[in-house]
Symmetry: C2
Subunit: 125 residues, 2 copies
């Protein structure tokens, strides 16, 4: 197994960038620890470490919006990865947008640049 440099951070977490394998759109950034890295490799589905809930997080476990990992890129320092994914349900963001990066800076404003794909109230209940 490819070893990542988890000792680079004090909390043992490294950033993982999820990028749409087809469009190249950056969908989200989340964190992985050794366990989520292994689970991702083992299952082919993106697993992260939820910092808010302090637990292993299969992306899509509540929403069904699982990320199928098509390709993994590793950076020069082996302390960041890119998961190239097929995003099931078409949306990575818990706010219902395809990407968590659905806002662009426009001077002192944040301008919404895409349409929501789902209604969070319906998906998360």
């Amino acid at each position: 197994m490819i070893e990542l440099n988890f000792t680079k951070s004090t909390d043992g977490l490294l950033p993982a960038i999820a990028q749409d394998a087809t469009s190249g759109e950056v969908l989200m950034l989340a964190y992985i620890n050794q366990e989520s890295w292994e689970k991702t490799l083992e299952t082919g589905k993106a697993h992260y470490w939820s910092r808010s809930r302090s637990k292993l997080w299969l992306k899509g476990e509540s929403s069904g919006h699982v990320q199928l990992v098509k390709e993994i890129l590793v950076d020069c320092d082996q302390d960041t990865v890119v998961f190239k994914v097929e995003q099931l349900g078409g949306a990575a963001c818990h706010k219902g947008y395809a990407s968590c990066f659905f806002r662009r800076m426009n001077g002192d404003e944040l301008e919404v640049i895409s349409e929501p794909v789902f209604d969070p109230a319906k998906v998360y209940g």
Copy 2:
């Protein structure tokens, strides 16, 4: 100015993803603090916080490979940003590659998927 959620991390650093504004290729991930965020907005050139040198880092200050920031995306939690950049010199990685993510996992191997753009020994002396 747009306020980011720097209190989300214990060290006051947030990840910034540099993405090629034209090709969509993810070039690198580095960290920003409040000062580097302000400097980036003020100058239009990507500034990060160097964790190894513990100092403000104008990307390209040694190599000349400055990143001109064309667009900034902010995520749903306001704790990660994407800098869409024009990468001067054509290479973001100190190892001479266009992207720091120049290796792809292939089973238990890391396969180099691009050609270097410059020779690091010549650029960094």
